[in-house]
């Protein structure tokens, strides 16, 4: 992340409300502020999706593919910023929920 610079805005949707967090990446330095405004990359999703992301229970790339996260702007920033989300909990199996149905 050291060579990346840019701003990413996370829009966390909770019913009719949306929280906005701005993350500014400047060559390895991360600043997080609670503000809206224009960013190089905007990522929007439900609160539950973000809760899963920060707990490592879902993967950001997969969430984008299935439309649980919507994104606009610089895709490279999107791929870079998903690195900050943690590892899954030990023994976590993302297919446990869906596997029964197949």
């Amino acid at each position: 992340m050291r060579k990346v610079a840019g701003s990413i805005r996370f829009e966390i949707v909770d019913g009719d409300n949306a929280d906005s967090w701005m993350v500014v990446v400047d060559h390895g330095q991360l600043t997080v502020t609670r503000q809206s405004g224009s960013a190089d990359c905007t990522i929007r999703g439900d609160r539950s999706t973000f809760e899963d992301l920060v707990a490592g229970r879902t993967n950001a790339n997969a969430a984008v593919l299935r439309g649980a996260l919507a994104a606009r702007g610089d895709v490279e920033l999107l791929v870079t910023i998903q690195r900050i989300f943690p590892s899954p909990p030990p023994g976590w199996d993302p297919t446990a929920e869906t596997r029964g149905g197949s």
Partner: protein
């Protein structure tokens, strides 16, 4: 089954029959695919209620095809007064210009119909015949038909429209037309794919819009690519034809991820592997470097951007690990498959460092090497930590995702590819020999970069010490003393997995083989057990699992042989390298210049022609790259300082060979050679 016609653009491709129709069964890879999803599974043309018969098909360019047809099926054409032309080109989705020519003196009234449907199958579902979990809908809208698939937040759509008026129903488009005498009727059909997601405000374009980004002029792109790659002049027609075919196929396999702008990297192969693979993209980039460095640069950037950062058992991800495979389909989206990305490869990480160095040696682009210093160091750290599963100083692998992860994480990735001489399969973790060779080479090359580019001589010295130690241990632990070759692997108890395989050729390429052992290794490679006359068998005759059509157990992989030839050359065995090159290139003659993924390991004396392995994957990137690497090997092209060394050792059936405008840090250089190596054993019919 009749011949399949494919056109492609990056990871969007259309596979149809020779009439241009698609009637996909759940398990065959025909239809319109994009982002690993089948957006069209039915596309059938009827004229006057009848199916059509193919007169001929022109694959004009890799991205467009033209089908010449007449109405009716069967050997006698009742009405040959009409012909039909479908001209199809792929972009985001595809367009098809449908022309019907009336050759008669009288006007004709006709009903023309296109039946269409989409199953939105994930390529993985096509491969494994799995059922869908979401719901379908169809909507008639004006002059168009909208097909949609929905599962929770996952939406995919196909929109079909026509430039000429038609009647639309849920199953297709109907044209009721009159064509005057000697006149032509035309319509342009457009099939557009859609990836929709919830709306998001902000700067730039949404991902859905980027997925539909405009396609640059493909014809122009191809002619530029051909202009910028070196020109080959040679009196061996097989070689010139194969070279041209390879260049065009490589252009076709270029894939531009959304994160890469207009730059592209090699996708692995049509139809199953039109995506980014760590190993395949790197091997192909290495093969192609003397001809074009663009693929290597993009590969390094894109793989670096997605380097592992977490410990994730489902994806077999570790910090520093270079990915194995990226997918975009529904099963990946719902985390039913781990490809977002999947990291289960035990060699891509070492190969990444190797490519970084080789790239700099050719291009002198130290900027990129500086930019990716962190990634290279993280990769080297992975080799010594996460990859050393047994703490014995060797890279080994054992999947942590036992359901959908890969059992064998080396290039021979089928389940039974790693075996003992007696056919038994070893337990896990497995430390295959070439992984150690690549690790050695990665350390040696990184040492050079540390000294010359990263300004860290201490790190360079450390790496060289580690490499020397690895080489010393490896030459003891893997050397099968009574057979005088290197074992395929060490099993979890440190026992030698003692099958004789082509992997020993990769060891030569890596430079890990002690000089005193090289001759014995070369003798094995060139023996009748491994060298068939066409190439090097993956597994030697006489091993329990040897089978001339066993996927990794006896077939010949042109890519594999090309790296073996490079290895022979590295240790000074020029004539042997020329022999292997001549064998593989001679084989290409039987495939119209397009080498398949693999062909049978039967001795040349037995079959007279190479027997294609029954697989649908063609063209395949690293087979396409093989003739290029063989050219480099035969010409002895080697960057040295700011110069290019040319030291040809060509098969004697080549009178003269010139490769003009070889790009690199020297600008452009020409290479010339005359044949002198006696390869009659493989080139005489």
């Amino acid at each position: 089954m009749s011949e399949l016609i494919s056109i492609l653009n990056g990871n969007t491709f259309v596979v149809s029959d020779e009439v241009g129709d698609v009637e996909a069964s759940p398990t065959d890879p025909t239809g319109l695919f994009s982002f690993d999803t089948r957006f069209l599974s039915k596309w059938v043309l009827t004229v006057g209620g009848e199916r059509l018969t193919s007169l001929s098909t022109d694959n004009l360019q890799y991205f467009e095809a033209r089908f010449f047809l007449v109405p009716g099926v069967g050997s006698v054409y009742v009405n040959a007064t009409m012909s039909v032309i479908r001209q199809r080109s792929v972009g985001n989705g595809f367009t098809e210009v449908l022309s019907i020519l009336n050759h008669d003196d009288e006007a004709v009234e006709l009903t023309v119909r296109i039946d269409a449907d989409a199953d939105f199958a994930d390529l993985f579902e096509v491969k494994d015949a799995l059922k869908k979990k979401g719901s379908y809908s169809k909507r008639v809208e004006g002059d168009g038909l909208h097909l949609a698939y929905e599962r929770d937040t996952y939406h995919r759509t196909t929109a079909i429209s026509s430039s000429q008026e038609c009647t639309v129903d849920e199953n297709g488009l109907t044209f009721t037309i009159t064509i005057g005498p000697h006149e032509t009727w035309k319509t342009e059909l457009d099939v557009a794919i859609g990836v929709s997601a919830q709306h998001v405000e902000g700067q730039g374009r949404s991902l859905a819009e980027q997925a539909r980004r405009p396609i640059p002029d493909m014809a122009l792109g191809l002619s530029r690519w051909l202009e910028e790659t070196p020109r080959l002049g040679c009196d061996w027609e097989t070689l010139t034809r194969t070279y041209q075919r390879s260049l065009v196929d490589l252009a076709a396999l270029r894939f531009s991820p959304l994160t890469a702008g207009r730059n592209s990297l090699p996708a692995a192969g049509l139809p199953w592997f039109m995506t980014m693979f760590g190993r395949d993209s790197i091997f192909t980039s290495l093969q192609v470097l003397p001809f074009s460095s663009e693929l290597a640069a993009t590969t390094l950037r894109q793989l670096g951007l997605r380097q592992g950062t977490r410990v994730d058992d489902f994806r077999d991800e570790d910090p520093g690990r270079i990915l194995h495979e990226v997918r975009f389909g529904e099963m990946t989206a719902f985390e039913e498959r781990p490809h977002s990305p999947y990291y289960g490869s035990a060699d891509a990480t070492q190969l990444y460092v190797i490519l970084l160095d080789e790239y700099e040696r050719w291009t002198g682009d130290t900027e990129l090497v500086k930019e990716f210093e962190f990634e290279a160091r993280a990769a080297l750290h992975w080799i010594d930590s996460y990859a050393d599963l047994q703490g014995n100083g060797y890279v080994s692998y054992e999947r942590r995702n036992a359901d959908t992860g890969l059992e064998n994480q080396c290039w021979k990735d089928s389940w039974d590819s790693i075996s003992f001489h007696d056919g038994k399969l070893p337990g896990f973790p497995r430390a295959t020999c070439e992984l150690q060779g690549y690790a050695y080479d990665a350390k040696m090359r990184a040492a050079r970069l540390a000294r010359e580019v990263w300004d860290d001589p201490e790190f360079a010295t450390d790496l060289e010490k580690q490499a020397a130690d690895l080489k010393r241990r490896f030459n003891q632990d893997f050397w099968v003393a009574d057979g005088e070759y290197f074992a395929l692997a060490l099993d979890p108890d440190g026992r030698q997995v003692d099958a004789l395989t082509s992997n020993i050729g990769h060891l030569l390429w890596s430079g890990i083989v002690d000089d005193s052992k090289a001759q014995a290794v070369v003798d094995h490679l060139m023996s009748d057990r491994l060298f068939s006359g066409w190439g090097i068998r993956t597994l030697a005759v006489g091993e329990a699992r040897y089978n001339p059509i066993g996927y990794h157990n006896g077939t010949i992989w042109p890519f594999d042989s090309s790296f073996v030839a490079w290895g022979l050359r590295r240790y000074g065995y020029k004539d042997e390298a020329a022999l292997v090159a001549a064998g593989i290139l001679e084989a290409s003659r039987f495939f119209d210049g397009r080498l398949p993924e693999a062909f049978g390991g039967y001795p040349k004396s037995m079959t007279k022609f190479p027997v294609q392995y029954p697989t649908a994957c063609s063209p395949q990137a690293w087979s396409t790259g093989a003739p290029l690497l063989l050219l480099r090997t035969m010409l002895g092209l080697e960057p040295m300082g700011g110069h290019l060394i040319v030291d040809p050792a060509l098969p004697a059936n080549i009178g003269r060979l010139e490769l003009l405008d070889i790009p690199g840090r020297w600008g452009r250089i020409d290479a010339f050679g005359r044949g002198r190596v006696d390869t009659s054993r493989v080139t005489d019919a």
